[in-house]
Each structure stands twice: as structure tokens, then as C-alpha cells.
């Protein structure tokens, strides 16, 4: 019974495709792909609408406000109102802009964000696009985001846009290295670049209690934290939203965009966030696996979206609590701390593998990470005293 609920979407798709029996093979293939694309877009655009209003409400709760509560029950129809407003706004293109590049930038950035969603396994047998090098596909397609941001900055022919684009590209490049290198230990341990295999390798429970997710190994925990921070940067979220710092450079590379193009950028940012969280879950949090054996009755895709929701809540929580960093602090952090720690995770995973993947391996890899972490934090300590700011004349 639980199995049939688990596979309900797979069966529904097969039932839809069975109406095509008799037609040539490529028709069935194209139809299958179209169903996948339609489902992806439907689910994630709905999730985008939902998250955009939930984010505002959660942020409001953290700041002792009400948040949007006028449109519909609890303000849940707010995204529809926002969408209508964005659609009927005037679409302004600067006179000196490079029209083609200016137009193509939001298209590219949204296309890239949606493509990266395709390789993530959303449930048992529910990967929209199965490919042998799925993780590589994610990073390869995702790396086109930098180009899109550059196109936005260049095409607008505006100083603030260009500055914002430069900042965005600098930080994306710096944090893409730790992002990829922290994915490496998982690929090494599993021995496959296929997301399905990586999820399958995290099935089962140690002592029938703790799930075998990679986040419960020392290297996995360290790599997950590093991956999550890099993901925050890649999706330009708050502690690292230097490229669009409103108080410094208007809105960065999005300054000259208005109306629906601006909404497209916004959507791409959120969908990129979903994609990075989805990949983080696939790599470290066991994908669609349930956290306990009893809870396996609940279908796999529900677990995926529960985990996605909790990760997104952490994103919003971080946005509500942390102030924006400076660009030089970010760069120093990326090159001096994140990158060496990412390499340490790779080494710790190798140690864990060769020490027998048991308790001994656990201790040894923990030791490796602890030594490098202590050494790095001692070396990077600036010796500056941190204290509340003293106002000499203001008070």
C-alpha cells in the first residue's frame, strides 16, 4: 500500500504515456520529456510563489511585524497580486543599452536555473533527467549563471550594473571552488557522479537508529556546512548579498531591469536556491530517504520536500539574523578558509574510507578536520579585539 502511494506519480506518468502505445519511439520519448518539464515547472513555480510570501511572513515575524496579510487568507494570495503588478508594469530599456544582450540576460539566467533542477532525484524513481554525470551537469550548467550576470551588467550600460556584476562574478567564482570541491568527497566515497546512485548509497541505518546520511560522518558534516555557505553565496542570499547591496550600489546588475524582467531575475534567484538546496540534500542529507525506519511509510517525495522546506527555512532565518558582510571579508574567507577546509574534507573522506568506514575511520577523519580547523583559525586570527562600538561624541 505505502509502495503504491510512493510511486503514484510514476504510475500516473506511465498511464499517460500508455495512451501513446503504437506511435513511434521518439514521440513517446518527447512526450515523456514534456511531462517531466511540465511537472518541474508547475511544482517549482508554485513553490516559488509560496516561498516568496512565506519568506516575507517569517521575516516579519522575526522583526515583530505582521507581514503581508491583506490579499486572501493569511495573505497567501500575495504572490498573485505581485505577479499581476510585475506583468503590467512598464518594461524600460535604457536608450544606450545593448538591446540584445540586455534582453537575453534574464532569459539565460532563468533557463540555467531551471535546467539545474532537472538532475535532482525528487523521490524513488523520480529523477526528471537521468544522466551518467548528473553532478557534473549541475555544475556545468550552473556555471553559465556568471555569464548571464555579466551580460546583465554589460548590457545595461550603467556603472552600478557593471560594478554589481563584477562583484557578483568575483564572489561566484571564489565560492564555486569550495562548492565543487566539497561535492568531491561524496563522489569519491560513492564512486559515481549519478545523483540516483549517491542517494542509494545513503540508504539504511547504522545500529538501526542513525540513518547512513553522509552528514553524520565528520567529513560529511564539515563538507555540508561549507557547501551550505557556498550555496548561500551562489544564490546571493543575505549575509553575502554584496552584489545587490541596496545601500551601496542600488540593485547591482538588476538596476536597469523593470517589470517582468526584474521578476525573472528574482525567480531565477529563488529557483537557484531550490536547486542548490536540493543538491545539498542529495549529497549529504540522504535525498528522499526517511530519517527513521518507522517513518518510511510516508512517501519519498514528501520527505524530499520536507527537507527542502527546512533548508529554505534556514536560508530565511539566516537572512533575518545576519548583517551583510563586506566584499573583502568575503573574499578573504573564501580563499583563506573555505578552500583549504574543502580540500581537508576530501582528505578526511579518504582517511575515513581507508580506516574502514567504522568508528576508527570516524575518529581519524574527525582528527584530521579538527587539526586543520584549529591550525587555520590560529593562522587567520587577526588579533583584533571585538567589542561593542564606543560612541565618543554622539552620546
Amino acid at each position: 500500500m505505502s509502495n503504491s502511494i510512493d510511486q503514484v506519480f510514476v504510475h500516473a506518468k506511465q498511464w499517460l504515456l500508455s495512451s501513446l502505445t503504437g506511435s513511434p519511439g521518439w514521440v513517446v520519448q518527447v512526450a515523456s520529456i514534456l511531462i517531466n518539464i511540465f511537472m518541474l515547472l508547475a511544482v517549482f513555480l508554485t513553490l516559488f510563489a509560496l516561498i516568496s510570501v512565506l519568506e516575507r511572513k517569517i521575516l516579519a515575524r522575526m522583526q515583530n511585524r505582521y507581514g503581508p496579510n491583506r490579499v486572501g487568507p493569511f495573505g497567501l494570495f500575495q504572490p498573485i497580486a505581485d505577479g499581476i503588478k510585475m506583468l503590467i508594469k512598464e518594461d524600460i530599456v535604457p536608450a544606450r543599452a545593448d538591446k540584445i544582450v540586455h534582453f537575453l540576460a534574464p532569459v539565460l539566467i532563468a533557463a540555467v536555473a531551471i535546467l539545474t533542477l532537472g538532475v535532482i532525484p525528487y523521490g524513488r524513481n523520480m529523477t526528471p533527467f537521468t544522466i551518467d554525470g548528473g553532478i557534473l551537469f549541475f555544475f556545468a550548467v550552473g556555471s553559465a549563471t556568471e555569464l548571464a550576470v555579466f551580460m546583465a551588467g554589460w548590457g545595461s550600460n550603467n556603472k552600478f550594473s557593471m560594478l554589481g556584476a563584477m562583484r557578483a562574478i568575483a564572489q561566484m567564482f571564489s565560492y564555486e571552488l569550495p562548492l565543487i570541491i566539497t561535492a568531491l568527497p561524496v563522489v569519491m566515497v560513492v564512486g559515481s557522479l549519478t545523483p540516483d546512485r549517491i542517494v542509494a548509497a545513503q540508504a539504511g541505518y547504522t545500529f538501526d537508529l542513525v540513518p547512513r546520511w553522509f552528514v553524520f560522518t565528520p567529513w560529511g558534516a564539515a563538507a555540508f556546512v561549507l557547501f551550505f555557505v557556498s550555496g548561500l553565496v551562489e544564490s546571493n542570499r543575505t549575509p553575502f548579498d554584496v552584489p545587490e547591496g541596496e545601500s551601496e550600489i542600488v540593485a547591482g546588475h538588476m538596476t536597469e531591469y523593470s517589470g517582468f524582467k526584474y521578476a525573472t531575475f528574482f525567480m531565477a534567484e529563488y529557483i537557484g536556491m531550490f536547486a542548490v538546496s536540493g543538491l545539498a540534500m542529495t549529497l549529504f542529507l540522504g535525498g528522499w530517504h526517511a530519517p527513521a525506519r518507522i517513518l518510511e511509510i510516508i512517501p519519498s517525495y514528501v520527505w524530499f520536500f520536507v527537507k527542502l522546506g527546512s533548508l529554505l527555512f534556514v536560508y530565511i532565518w539566516v537572512r533575518g539574523t545576519l548583517p551583510r558582510t563586506r566584499i573583502d571579508q568575503m573574499m578573504n574567507f573564501a580563499w583563506k578558509f573555505m578552500l583549504p577546509m574543502a580540500f581537508t574534507c576530501v582528505i578526511a573522506a579518504a582517511v575515513w574510507h581507508y580506516a574502514g568506514r567504522g568508528l576508527r575511520g570516524w575518529l581519524w577523519s574527525f582528527l584530521v578536520i579538527a587539526i586543520v580547523y584549529t591550525a587555520l583559525s590560529t593562522l587567520l586570527d587577526t588579533g583584533r579585539k571585538l567589542a561593542p562600538r564606543v560612541y565618543r561624541f554622539a552620546e
Partner: protein, 160 residues
Amino acid sequence: MNSAALIIIAVFTLAAALAAATLRKLMHAALSLVVVFVGIAALFFLLGAEFVGLALVFIYVGAVAVLVVFTILLTPRDVGKDRGFNWGGAIVAVAVFGGLTWSILNTQSLAVVAPHMPALTVKQIGKTLMTIYVWPLQCVGLLLTAALIGALILVMEEKR
């Protein structure tokens, strides 16, 4: 392997390549180059070399294209006014294309259909890379490090 897909991708790629070679604005040419590389990656996918296609997109679209556009940004004086166009180059290019096509079409041993081949997995590539090609791999690593340091030294401020 599908002929229709091949023809569509080939026309797309070659049109983008012509645009990259002849467009007046440097930035547009650089962006057409990106389209060329995506097209070539699609051809690799069609030929069954998915890993190489992904590596091509990763390296060219993610890194080389951004390097090119940054160089265009950092050398602003000549942007948008590339006047000279040497027609001699066009003649040479057409001659080379004609010669190559003539020789390809007249070589009977090239008119073969692809044999049935098991799919090339990433695991196979990794094993080959780590056994037979381990020395070339190390050499490429050394070369990339040298190129990194060399590029850094080249763009450092000149001392007057």
C-alpha cells in the same frame, strides 16, 4: 544517432561560428562563441561522449568565456570599432574548407556508419585516466599550474 538532430545542431553551431568570426561588436562575437561551444557540446552528446560535452560546457562557458568578456571589459579603447577586415583571410579560409571537403568526400574509407558501441560511462573514463593516462594527467596538472602562475605574472602591474 539522429540525422535531423545532427543537421539542426550543425546549422546552429556553424551559424554561431560565422557570427563569432564576423560580427562587428566584440562582445556579441564573444557571446556567439559561447553558443558555438554549447553546439559542439551538443554534438558530443549526440556522439555519446557525454562527459566530454559536460567538461566542454563547464570549462568554456563557465571559465574561458568569462575570461574573454573580462578581457574585453579591461581593454576598453578598441571596443566596438574593429575596423580592419582582411579579405585575404576569407579567401584562405574558403580554400581550406574546399580542400578539406574535397578530400573527405573522396576518401571512401570515411563513408562508414557508427558501429554499435556500449555507452561510455564516467567510471570507465576515470579508470582509463588513472591507469593508462596517469602520466599525461600529471603533466596537464603541471601545465595548468604553470599557466596559472604565468598568467598571474603577466597581468601584474609593470614596474616603471
